[in-house]
Symmetry: C2
Subunit: 394 residues, 2 copies
């Protein structure tokens, strides 16, 4: 009897060990990524070396317009759902580690320079909430109040900056706020007012110095030099569509993926079939490139020699590849119906493209444009690789 019990215990122990040990494979996280499946509230965890899907994680809520950031170690993805859900996904175990509902309507987030703070930008209730990256406990709440009527603005264009700062824009208020969360219990907020009409998204340059907000209510952009906040916000690209008839806008472009290559930034023109070339030394327009439709994402290959562009309806089955020296489209690709996002591998040899309505992700070689792989996915949208953890502004 004792022997049997002992045997049973040993078998149980061995089974437990096998279960606890065999499931998560010991592996590096530098070549992992996540594909958002917006229709099913799930994400796929993918391997960019083997070009395969490793696992699927369900139960993340409404993932339309979802984005994510990575923990400092590359193991966890913090997924910001449109419904205000914030989910910490363990890439190695393929499970949800933590999940909180933090707002009613949210539009993305960022992670602090030191990796300790997760900030969510919210439409409803308007503001920025900051959480412990480890526990998802709320550590700071900054409502986006403006004016004298007790109103709160939608927060857009949230970005991380050096010095454990976050920067964001207030849509209805026309303001840019810079929050220093070095002491999360007492964030220091600096407000730039009257920066322009309806900032709809923003980005920070890869060096973390310049924050730019795109303006929906007028032609132009707002610029803050974070090395010199005392200079205030500047207006750039004023009237870049002046004199031309406005086109209907089918989908707002995304600024966070904006391409910075050498001294130039490549900017989606709102409503026009053009990519604007912005000289980052003068902050003047340096040229325009004709493309197949209204650009949504304009993203540089990591070496800056190409810029890839996807489009709003009805041109959203196309992807244009711009050669930056020629300032012209040199290749057109058709990855599938409703291309929503593109993500380059860290050193740029491949790009992964989601085609929502064909339920697939297509991987291209960026030198030969050959298809390297096709992965099935349920209405895939955003694709995010773990090297983002090591970058500012991603």
């Amino acid at each position: 009897m004792f022997t049997n019990k002992f045997q049973a215990l040993l078998i149980a122990a061995a089974t437990l060990l096998l279960a606890g040990c065999a499931a998560p494979v010991l592996r590096g996280t530098g070549d992992l990524g996540v594909v958002i499946e917006r229709a099913t509230g799930s994400v796929q965890i993918v391997d960019t070396s083997q070009l395969v899907s490793l696992s699927s994680v369900k139960g993340l809520g409404d993932l339309s317009h979802a984005s994510l950031v990575y923990s400092r170690d590359g193991r966890y993805a913090y997924v910001f759902g449109r419904d205000g859900g914030l989910t910490k996904v363990d890439l190695l175990r393929g499970v949800i580690a933590l999940r909180v509902m933090q707002a009613g309507n949210s539009i993305g987030g960022a992670i602090s320079q030191d990796g300790k703070l997760i900030a969510a930008q919210n439409y409803t209730p308007g503001g920025v909430k900051v959480f412990s990256a480890e526990t998802l406990e709320l550590v700071a709440d900054v409502p986006s109040g403006y004016g004298d009527a007790g109103l709160r603005a939608k927060v857009v264009g949230l970005a991380d900056a050096p010095g454990n700062r976050f920067v964001w824009s207030l849509f209805e208020a026309g303001e840019i706020w810079v929050g220093d969360f070095s002491n999360p219990a007492k964030p220091a907020i600096q407000k730039f007012k009257n920066i322009g009409n309806q900032p709809y998204d923003g980005l920070i340059t890869p060096d973390g110095r310049y924050y730019l907000a795109g303006l929906f209510g007028e032609d132009g952009m707002a610029l803050v030099d974070l090395w010199h906040p005392e200079q205030g916000a500047r207006r750039i690209l004023n009237g870049y569509g002046k004199g031309e008839e406005k086109l209907p806008v089918f989908k707002m472009p995304h600024l966070r993926g904006w391409a910075v290559a050498g001294r130039y930034a490549y900017v989606p023109a709102i409503g026009r079939h053009e990519v604007l070339v912005l000289d980052m030394q003068t902050w003047l327009e340096a040229g325009r490139i004709k493309v197949a439709g209204q650009p949504v994402f304009v993203i540089a290959r990591p070496d800056g020699r190409q810029v890839w562009v996807n489009f709003a309806f009805p041109d959203n089955a196309n992807v244009d590849v711009i050669d930056v020296e020629q300032r012209a489209v040199v290749k057109q690709l058709a990855p599938g119906k409703a291309v929503l996002h593109m993500e380059f591998t860290p050193r740029g040899e491949s790009v992964w493209i989601s085609a929502r309505d064909d339920n697939r992700v297509v991987v291209y070689d960026t030198a030969s444009f050959a298809q390297r792989a096709v992965l099935p996915a349920e209405s895939p949208s955003g694709i995010f690789f773990t090297h983002r953890a090591a970058r500012t502004g991603f």
Copy 2:
């Protein structure tokens, strides 16, 4: 008897499982790093989130002047020893995964854009050898023959470039070679001859476009635009020390860590107590910054706002911090005796500095300059963090 055997088997199985399972902790690799301990032929594996050493791996041979590159997934470090040893270290298990002796005298290496090829640059026998990153099997051998006398040059300045290329310089020959290893069995080698006297090291710009070789035999540098190899090699910074008396050189500066921040590169002047500012748009000298000694490493903080400099003997207990806007040293630090290397965390909040003769690694906050941690190490030299896997030219 059967029961006892069965029990014994179960115990053995459980023990094996415990040993195989408990030892390596499931964790991300994005915040790992390696510190070279040159005197003992060992490396320490460190955690840049917790600021601790996780393990020590011995048996790597002669690690004077050792460097390393990381596998695409961040799990393995490929350590290039001075004695020609090439060691693949498993950071998660803290053990040597593979090791080969590939040359008699070696000076570093690089990893291809796709992560599949490891290239070693060798003094003896002179040339570049290329290995499978998975197995360390030799897949290509390119001797550095030059001239008509059957001589082989020392290979220096090896760097990776987009398109699975490697670029390197031949010291005695005054040549730069570009090797395309897209088909490793048949590498395509392009040679640039008469590039200048005694190239002693090289670097590639972060975008992978420009390869620069420093010249020891004359004042100046050689430049190849890899987007336009048909233009050949150019000479830049000609005679930057002209008319001044040459100083004795106590230690050759390292070019691979050269700082590129915005449009400027910060270059160690050979033998002079100066850092040169190089305008990367005109390739002309744009200024000089006085520093405490002969610079060895000149490295930009990831946001490009500071450049950190260490020095040759007798000033090698100092580190100078340059503010790039002021073009002046704004802080001097004394981390310990014989500072050999500095490595910034990926997003730049901290820097790790090795002080060989004080047997320690000191971690600083780069905003406040406060010491965050001191880690004991045996004669530490190079420090390398895993985010290098995701970058070109590291």
